[in-house]
Symmetry: C2
Subunit: 373 residues, 2 copies
């Protein structure tokens, strides 16, 4: 396989689900895939060895955060993000667009990009399509993303249209700059916007496909819209996207949503909830969500999820995890995060297997009947 | 070997250093040994698997903390502390005496023990020699400690004498209660007090030996006294202690102090500094102490300690660790703690080897010439 090639291995006869392999310089990614989020270059509380042991296929990082700290020059002089953080597999950086609009104080938004103040120290910076490509090139992840505006929800159709136009223009400029800088090691993905408006989603998809990318993300979802709107947007978009390119729905990642999205033809997922919820005491288990801080677990000496084989479930009991939370012991943050990530990755393996055996619909029903009981 | 037996394997011809093996129900402990501290039943940020991989021989916990949370009944109903926390090797609990006097609000100190208010919620409790034995029996560690008063520093000779008398009386009552409860699974250690007064240290040692224990701790050190006083107290005490019993200096654990203490005949150590300093950015390295937060490390891509083979030093660089601290990423707390514990355990292995090859003095000089450069 060549870098950037996406090979579909099996298609469901029941729905749009498919399994595949996507080739990057640092390794092949098996899809459907859940990608752990390491915003600042660290999947919170988790070591690289643990990511490797749970068979994480790709790790995410964020261009905005890494640009501010430690700075792209530091990462470049170390030889790239993988060398800097010590992770040997594929990586993906988000462009920083979402963070500029959501975390920073905006100074000026223009055709060229965005002038903003750092959320850390108020210092002034600029990011735009060209600058984001430079930054992501220096960071050096395998997959990088176009600089776009993640259209907020709710928003008027007028705003959504203007925002989508801007993102399409930026995508064209991103590709141009990317090609100038390209040394054949990175892959640039386009991002479809258009909010909850089907015609805008269609237009965004068509115009982004016209520019041409080795993979397409569906952005602006999981930002507060009702689930039906989210799935409708996927249903509108995925049939237009080229079959032979991977599809990545940004920010979607609750277990039940992953089943729904794969069913609609999505291949790649990321979500902060497995890590963030873990730090708040929330665990995903095969019989649904559990808050380990609840008093009912104080004398429950069974594993967090009896059907799980992660180090947390094999090595610790619920009463102890509850105790650690009550005592504010840091160990519990990593134990729950570790379990949640294991859970998500195991979930994608179950989904892949169900597609391979062309049993997706039944497997989905079986999973959800226990998980959402 | 029988439980409670201490076998001396090799004695230095140059000093009082010796290597040995101490047998507990849950395994043999090789001495000199550094014991990681897991006050609330968790060596802060570190998993059991990591403790096992670094070859930790014993893990400490604290009766005062575990009595308050999760409560001794919870631990007992789980089948003991090892089952509760998932650690399979030997464990030692401190009696809670030190914590009652240093953390809690004292209500009344009497011959029977201490009435105090919890440092967590102000609730009223009582600990004394008999109660501490009951608590430590239910917790179920392999080695348990007499309930004593850790004499503060500085203190008058009158206070030190009264305090030492109290601790000796309590030690006698601890042993009596221990024998009532004993099922042959636990070992009770006596504790020598006497502050910085050689005659009191001697008297405490003699009276405690008269009561008779399978091991003797030297308490009341590393509490603020000058280093010379600390070593003088060890020199006064260890020659009186029975050669065939392990000697444990409580709270001593800086790398340089371990060399000095082993030289004076001490076998067992514990100290919170490797864990606590790790969480503050301080690392022990073969060339001395390093504060990874310092700006000088921002672009230093070398390992934390080039001579170390721990997962932190094999998998990460200084610039990344510095970055994680600046970003307040939790991962760095475990990475530094892991390294520091590895460092301490490797140190005791180096010390054991130096005794085995009867090269202690030279090895100590070599280590300190680099470490204290």
């Amino acid at each position: 396989m060549k870098t950037g090639e996406f090979k579909i291995l099996k298609k469901s006869s029941e729905c749009s689900a498919r399994t595949g392999k996507f080739k990057t310089v640092n390794g092949e990614i098996n899809t459907p895939v859940f990608m752990p989020v390491g915003t600042q270059g660290s999947v919170k509380t988790i070591s690289n060895l643990e990511l490797q042991e749970m068979e994480a296929e790709v790790v995410l990082a964020n261009a905005y955060h890494l640009y501010l700290r430690p700075g792209t020059e530091t990462i470049e002089s170390c030889g790239g993000i993988q060398k800097f953080i010590g992770w040997k597999g594929p990586m993906l950086t988000d462009s920083g667009g979402f963070q500029v609009f959501s975390l920073a104080t905006l100074r000026r938004v223009e055709e060229d990009g965005v002038e903003f103040q750092s959320h850390i120290d108020g210092s002034k910076h600029f990011l735009g399509p060209e600058k984001s490509m430079e930054v992501q090139k220096k960071i050096g992840a395998d997959i990088i993303m176009c600089f776009d505006e993640c259209t907020p929800y709710p928003c008027t159709k007028e705003y959504a249209k203007r925002s989508m136009d801007l993102s399409v223009n930026w995508a064209r400029r991103c590709k141009k700059k990317f090609e100038e800088l390209d040394e054949g090691k990175q892959l640039l993905f386009g991002i479809i916007q258009g909010s909850v408006y089907p015609d805008l989603r269609r237009e965004s998809a068509e115009r982004t496909i016209d520019i041409g990318f080795p993979g397409y993300a569906i952005g602006g979802l999981a930002v507060g819209e009702p689930k039906e709107e989210m799935f409708k947007a996927l249903e509108t978009t995925t049939p237009i996207l080229p079959e032979q390119k991977p599809r990545y729905s940004m920010g979607i990642g609750m277990p039940e949503d992953i089943w729904e999205s794969v069913e609609r033809g999505v291949d790649m997922f990321d979500c902060v909830l497995p890590t963030r919820n873990g730090r708040n005491g929330q665990a995903f288990t095969s019989s649904g969500r559990v808050n380990i801080k609840n008093a009912e677990f104080q004398k429950d000496f069974s594993p967090l999820d009896p059907e799980c084989s992660c180090p947390t479930c094999k090595g610790y009991n619920r009463a102890y995890l509850n105790h650690l939370f009550r005592c504010q012991e840091l160990l519990v943050l990593r134990l729950l995060t570790l379990h949640n990530l294991h859970f998500m990755i195991k979930l994608t393996k179950v989904i892949r297997k169900s597609i391979e055996s062309d049993n997706f619909v039944e497997s989905k029903k079986e999973f959800l009947s226990k998980y959402l009981k």
